[in-house]
Amino acid sequence: MFHLAWRNLLQSRIQFFLGVGGVAMALLLMLSLDALLAGSEQDLVAYIYQSGADIFVAQEGVRNLHMAASAISVQDMRRAARVEGVASASPILYTTGVVETDEADVLSYIIGFDPREPLGGPRTVVVGTARLKRGEAIIDNAVARSQGVELGDEIEILGETFTVVGLTEGLTNIINSVTFIHIDDFRALRRGDAISYALLAVEPGYDPTEVAAAIEARNEDVTALPREVFAREERQIIKDMSVEVIYIMNLAGLLIGLAVTALTLYTSTLRKRQEYGVLKAMGAQNRHLYTVVAVQAFLSLMMGAAVAIGLVWLMGLVLPQVVPGTAMALTQAGVVRVLTAALGIGVVAALVPAWQMARLDPAQVFRS
């Protein structure tokens, strides 16, 4: 029956390609969005990982960077630095702002860091220097490329003019970019002694989770989170913001996939009605015919899923080259979700043809 299903599937090449292609497009809709979000999540937390911090100390209740406002005192940072296991503590100032270039305005995380401190500054400067002075800025390569900015060019950040002295790699995502300026410049713009976050390195042999808990235990005005937790909270923001879009797109993909598969199977079964009647007349049981439908559904869906996965993988390679700042990451969870959806579609789509088969009267072969 497997062979018959396979041959039936391939018999009409046009129908085969339309069926598999339709399923692939539907699953692509689901998978590409998933991959796009996964890619965005990875990019969004790139600074958190690149900063080198093991622990992020923020104002009490602040658990991430995106759209957050945090203010702690230098004393808070020093108290945290005195906790056993902390190797170093570096301050950063942070806000979300606009970087104005000659071409356009670019939304960006603005990080004010001290080049003399071990943490907080850019770690992936590919062109220029990371040791910036006052009045200088480091932007991401993707922004520079897209806006035609080169080293030595002037840009405007938070209303002040800065000279670009360095370009980073991998700090632009679909939402924004990361721009670095000197902490004193930032402080001058903001006015005041508070810092946004303290970035802590932990001594070897110490568990960042335990150290973070110790910091919070000593100072209830701050929230201290290990890097992994801080990054997870940051990713969650993206998830929370996109959950409805994901839901709608997944539903759309599911319905399109279901419609394509159901229609393909239904027309295929209808077209083969006479032949299935012959099989029944000769002694095939319903289960034999169900197998044919099920195998056809399974094969076309799995092929569609494979095409969709392949296309998303290709898009993941091509898209960042074409659209700077975008990234697609094919995740195991995304693939499992799509394969599960495909199986679900197969089961539902095969119901009507199976019912047709069950009702098929083999005697019709003689009457036709």
Partner: protein
């Protein structure tokens, strides 16, 4: 000798009340091993209905049909396909080969339905197709076969599970005269060699020669043939309830 098929007072009605139609009326028939019976009759005489009942595809309203020890009229719907698979071979008017499968796979598939592996089924199918003279067309799709070749593949498919009886519905309808004769002679030879009984329903007068008995069905009953028919099958001993012509 034990009959292969025994048909006893079979009647089939459709509808009810004033619109009731009796398609087959009190038909009895005994089919011996290796016997070839040709059932003829005008359109609407009940030939196809009778064939459907003989093949276990339609339940009679009255009467009994037995193949060996199996009573088709009493068998559970789930058991009937099994009986058809093992004890009955079908040859259809339009050949009805599966269009997506090669000649070899068309025949092998019926063997696979019995639970045999694809490899074993193909081995058995290949041998039979070679015996029937279409060994050079094993991997051809039906659309690439001539009418005569298609019918040979259909015959192989009907024979491959070594059934007790073969039911053929207008087997020469889509063949020219010469090919029709050749194919029916081939069917006769194969059936006789394997002592398989054959019941053919046909309008085709030219295939009377291959039948051991020719029966005339009209208005649902076996009766005498119309004027002009030769009325004689070659070795046609009358049997109980048969209207031998």
């Amino acid at each position: 000798m034990e009959p292969v098929m025994l048909v006893e007072h079979v009647t089939r009605r459709f509808g009810g009340g004033e619109i009731e139609v009796v398609a087959v009326r009190d038909v009895s028939l005994t089919v011996g091993p290796g016997e070839i019976i040709l059932i003829m009759g005008p359109s609407g005489s009940g030939k196809t209905t009778l064939l459907l009942m003989l093949g276990g595809l339609l339940k009679p309203s009255e009467g009994r049909i037995r193949i060996g020890q199996d009573d088709l009229t009493q068998l559970d719907e789930r058991r009937l396909p099994e009986v058809r698979l093992h004890r009955i071979g079908f040859i259809f008017q339009d050949f009805n080969l599966l269009s997506s499968l090669s000649a070899l796979d068309n025949v092998a598939l019926v063997v696979q339905l019995t639970g045999l592996s694809r490899r074993a089924a193909r081995r058995r199918a290949r041998a039979l197709l070679e015996q029937l003279g279409v060994g050079h067309r094993l991997n051809f799709l039906p659309e690439k076969l001539s009418g005569g070749e298609k019918q040979r593949v259909a015959i192989a498919r009907a024979l491959v599970n070594e059934p007790d009886i073969i039911l053929a519905d207008e087997p020469t309808a889509n063949l020219d005269s010469r090919r029709g004769q050749e194919t029916m002679q081939l069917l006769r030879r194969i059936a006789k060699e394997g002592m398989r009984s054959v019941i053919i329903v046909s309008h085709d007068e030219r295939i009377k020669d291959i039948a051991d008995r020719v029966l005339w069905l009209e208005d649902g009953s076996f009766t005498t043939p119309p004027k002009g028919g030769d009325g004689k099958g070659p070795n046609a001993p009358p049997r109980d309830g048969d209207a031998v012509v």
